[in-house]
């Protein structure tokens, strides 16, 4: 029997996970119209073969709604995580490169942001930006960059003083060459891992503020909206309205977290040869 190749298995796992997530996103976008279709002839149906997740009090197919909601969440997550990571990259590098004063100011700012409870900050920014899609995106994007910025700052600081980089510049290697050959290969793994691990946070925070009513408006098929509406019907025994959307949200978040963990393992030089 051939020995198990950890690296190949990991790559296979990554492809499958990414595939599932892309599939959910695409399916949700296709099912968007079906998700808002009402039909009072089939309201409040329990899960069956025809309606996998049941239907709600307006006869909307919960399976389509859940997929549409997840798709929306993933897309918002992608956008906010990308913006957040970009802010982190710029501020983290600025910290390390622009000197002591800039470092002190930005580090203080990071500490301040981290000191405020996340959900509170997201809510405040979201309300300030007028709720809705813009509010949610701004809120999540502007509050999630702190820890990644700190990681990047540390990494760049350490790299700048690394003997192999000092030696290279003494040997007449140009600044651009040093950034390209020495800095980026060290920074990229940290950055990519940080970026992917931002998704689950972004998605969860997006759903939670929507659930609390400070996020997306209620006509959009978002997971947060679905969950908050279903709360009213839970007491009347319609368990499926909350259970399936909630479960699938947890699954998606866990998939992203696993994806990030595996990517980190694959890219980290300390474990890359395992």
């Amino acid at each position: 029997m051939k020995p198990q190749n950890q690296r190949r298995n990991t790559i296979l796992f990554l492809i499958v996970t990414a595939g599932v997530l892309i599939l959910i996103t695409a399916a949700g976008m296709l099912l968007k119209d079906q998700a808002v279709q009402t039909n009072f002839a089939r309201k409040n149906l329990a899960p069956s073969r025809e309606f996998l997740f049941g239907t709600d009090w307006m006869g909307r197919d919960m399976f389509a709604r859940t997929l549409a909601g997840l798709s929306l969440s993933i897309r918002i997550g992608l956008l906010t995580a990308a913006v957040s990571a970009l802010i982190a990259l710029i501020l983290g590098t600025a910290c390390a490169v622009l000197g002591r004063a800039a470092d002190a100011v930005i580090s203080w700012w990071i500490d301040l942001m981290m000191g405020i409870p996340h959900i509170l900050l997201v809510m405040l920014i979201s309300i300030a930006c007028g709720r809705g899609f813009t509010g949610v995106v701004a809120g999540v994007a502007l509050s999630h960059w702190t820890s990644l910025a700190r990681v990047i700052r540390g990494e760049v600081l350490q790299l700048r003083e690394a003997p192999y980089i000092l030696t290279a510049s003494k040997l007449g290697v140009s600044k651009m060459q040093i950034v390209k050959n020495h800095m980026i290969p060290h920074l990229l793994p940290q950055f990519v891992t940080g970026l992917i691990l931002l998704f689950p946070h972004a998605i969860l925070h997006e759903s939670s503020i929507t659930f609390l009513g400070f996020g997306l408006s209620s006509e959009q098929p978002a997971i947060g909206v679905i969950l908050s509406e279903s709360m009213r019907y839970l007491t009347t025994g319609r368990w499926w309205l909350a259970l399936f959307p909630g479960l699938s949200l947890v699954c998606v978040v866990m998939l992203f977290a696993l994806l990030g963990e595996r990517v980190a393992k694959l890219l980290n030089p300390a474990s890359a040869h395992e």
């Binding site: 690394a162 003997p163 192999y164 980089i165 000092l166 030696t167 290279a168 003494k170 040997l171 007449g172 290697v173 060459q177 050959n181 020495h182 290969p185 060290h186 030089p269």
Partner: protein, 201 residues
């Protein structure tokens, strides 16, 4: 050519009161091999870093032929070989890439330093300290190098390899008329290879 350190005073940022070097002067001319001896923690490595331009002295200056060392562009004519070779090579790059970064070294150097062809494709974690040190030497002996600062470069090697490397360096130094600063705890070694021995206060 002459490398001069004039009235150097240096202290590390965290410990402003204790100066590690105070008003220290030293000069090395081409062809000279100056030994440097001092107990641990007296600033031997710091002196090397100052002379090679890795640190700036608080007072005093480092001059090469009367011009400030920092005014030289491109490859610095003063190269330092470090005590710990594993910190001076990028762990994510193959050694061939690291070696050729500042231009391809001469074939002759690789042969005389016993660097094998196959090592060029390996990563630093796959070679031993002594093997890495040979790469660092080959890189530091760039054609433009005029002064070589050797900071305990053979402290972790066995005697045979040590002898091999020093024989090579002496020969190379004579041929190219290099000036050298040799830091070591090993008195016998300094007696053998140096033309003059200095002690740090």
């Amino acid at each position: 050519m002459i490398l001069q350190a004039e009235h150097l005073t240096f202290s590390y940022r965290r410990r402003k009161q204790e100066c590690i070097l105070q008003d220290y002067s030293l000069s090395i001319t081409s062809g000279e091999r100056v030994g440097l001896r001092a107990p641990s923690g007296r600033g031997k490595t710091t002196l090397c870093r100052l002379l090679a331009g890795y640190e700036k002295p608080q007072q005093g200056k480092v001059l090469l032929n009367g011009k400030a060392l920092s005014s030289f562009r491109g490859v610095c004519p003063v190269q330092m070989v470090w005590q710990h070779p594993e910190t001076v090579v990028d762990p994510l790059l193959q050694l061939g890439v690291t070696l050729n970064e500042a231009g391809k070294p001469e074939e002759r150097l690789l042969k005389e330093l016993h660097i094998e062809e196959g090592w060029l494709k390996r990563y630093p974690s796959e070679l031993s300290g002594g093997e890495l040190q040979r790469f660092c030497l080959a890189r530091a002996l760039h054609p433009d190098t005029r002064f070589l600062l050797c900071d305990e470069i053979t402290a972790m090697l066995d005697l045979v390899t040590q002898a091999q490397i020093w024989n090579f360096l002496l020969e190379e130094g004579k041929q190219r008329d290099l000036g050298m600063l040799i830091v070591s705890h090993d008195d016998a070694l300094l007696q053998k290879v140096c033309t003059r021995i200095e002690t740090l206060p």
